[in-house]
Symmetry: none
Subunit: 188 residues, 4 copies
DNA sequence: AATGAATGAGGGTTCATTCAT
DNA sequence: AATGAATGAACCCTCATTCAT
């Protein structure tokens, strides 16, 4: 693995453990097993690793989506799988996701956010387009894709914000989110 | 205005302008017009102002909601007003909201989050309960209230994340969010 | 002695011992007996002490001049005293003078240099004006004052640059400088 | 051009632009178009380029002197040419000259300074010796040569120290320096 | 001879917090 | 209650130098 990749992984790991502001560059390089100065050969500043990490996260989310959703299943089942998949990713990486937002805001251009999430939105947009005959009339696939992802992510977040580590409560939140979405899309 | 209040307001203003990590206690006290040491008479640490600010924000959001939504209007119109109201609040205070999340995560107990948002959720829950006859069967008012607020907040956020400062795009996002919600609730 | 003064003195001492670049702020504060951060209450950066030190040096030079030159003595004797005085100051503080130049160049406005040296030039200009009847015709007191100080300082410098620590050589350089100046002024 | 020469030229150029302490080895090698490590094949340390640069500068000054001064002209005219020539060199290379002094002081033996300037002093000494019949009696050519060069250099420096970028002021300073020197030498 | 990625000690600066007044 | 000068630990980043290729 090349040094840059090592640094991104190390940063991901340390950020996850300590949070954005508590993480020292010295922690990252120690984790990566390289010298302090080496970090700055690849990133101009501490915050500059953030986009790389964000990239990494979105890729994971997309991969999980594609792996979880079975295109052959009936639409409602696929929707449930989408909810399931996003809940899972958020559950696994919520610490990262949380500070990603903060981190990216601090680094210069937020427009990167759009570019980052683009593949995810595109995927969902195409999903909706493919299934449009089964959805309510007049549904705008672009806008809806975005709102839908935001909605599910947020619902998944709430599980943690409200300390519902309780298995049953989590399942319920998932279920309710699914129903919410199902109706929002006007699935017939 | 007493000193504590002055400090909270000053902190709010400075956080808004500079973000959480960039804000120095010295900025806050300068803005408040008190001496450096005075801060520590009222708050044990820098992060300790956060809950007070969060409180303040949620109160504003609630106030706006109550002011905007007309209980006499037909349900769809009220829904549109809710969307409108939350979009407005986020638009006005998005910087604060953004880092509130971060700030609270860093301070000890996140459970405060629940307590903070409680009035908002309660209000919406009661709203849904009042209108249940007009909504889809089996709708759980507690869960749905939360998901719905998360969904709208997130949609409002996207306006900024994707730099849609464009008036028309913003209006469209609002409109689509409204339709999304309307169907999700199964409004008859 | 107030803290600022303590810092200037300490900086002077440490710079003298270690040179500009080798001096750490930590050295200065240790010497001054204050905490690291205290330095930055009085000076925005390490280089910012330089003007204060320069001021101090010029004052010393001026004081020595006034103390050494006897206005009642015949003109040539006074000239010799001026040379003597400047040589002495340079000899005592050459390390400081050397890096002062460097230091000030690095800090923003060199125009300070003019302001710094002003009292010295003024003094010499008045000296020349007082004695004009004894000097060559057409001598411009302003320009000549400056050139003369530069000339003597440089000659004094050379004593060190060329390692003429030899007593006799030094005396000779002084003598030659005096004669040089005497003729340059056209002393009758 | 061989690599060593390329490095010296590059160092000269970069030092000129950025000053001694601000110049990084990386700047030098970039300018020279060689790799970082290559520098250390030719110079044991960053400071080790300094003597080579100093050499280069003195050579330029000497060359200019020889090119400017017309031995067939009357002595006063030649003096004026000397002043002119040194002012020019300082004007063109003052940044280098300024830090050369600093740089050399920092590198081990200052005695190099003497060796460096030797050709210049020798040239002027011979100039004075050649013209001794036209100069005041008892003039020591060795000492005077040195003092004279120092005096002119310093006067030229003052043009910059005091921001007299004004054409007219510069001309005046030159003129006054010439008269100063002319009398100091006792030109008949 | 040439490369350039890697090193890592080092220092300037920041800023939350304290405490004597 | 209020002050604000002083504290000093903490940390980011620089950059001269090395060394395996």
């Amino acid at each position: 693995m090349d040094t840059q990749k090592k640094l991104v992984c190390a940063a991901l790991a340390v950020f996850k453990k300590k949070g954005l502001e508590k993480t020292k560059v010295s922690d990252i390089v120690k984790q990566a097993g390289v010298a302090q100065g080496t970090f700055y050969l690849y990133f101009p500043s501490k915050l500059a690793v953030m986009p790389a990490i964000a990239q990494c996260m979105v890729e994971k989310m997309e991969a999980r989506l594609k792996a979880t959703v079975n295109p052959a299943a009936p639409l409602p089942e696929q929707l449930a799988q989408i909810v399931e998949s996003i809940f899972d990713t958020v559950q696994k990486h919520r610490d990262i996701l949380a500070f990603l937002y903060t981190g990216l805001s601090q680094s210069a251009d937020i427009t990167k956010w759009e570019r980052l999430y683009a593949p995810l939105y595109t995927w969902l947009k195409e999903f909706l387009t493919r299934n449009r005959p089964l959805l309510r009339n007049g549904l705008d696939t672009s806008y809806t894709a975005r709102i839908m992802i935001g909605c599910i992510e947020q619902a998944a977040e709430q599980v943690f914000l409200f300390n519902k580590i309780d298995e049953q409560e989590t399942a319920r939140q998932k279920e309710e989110t699914f129903v919410f979405i199902e109706h929002a899309l006007g699935v017939r």
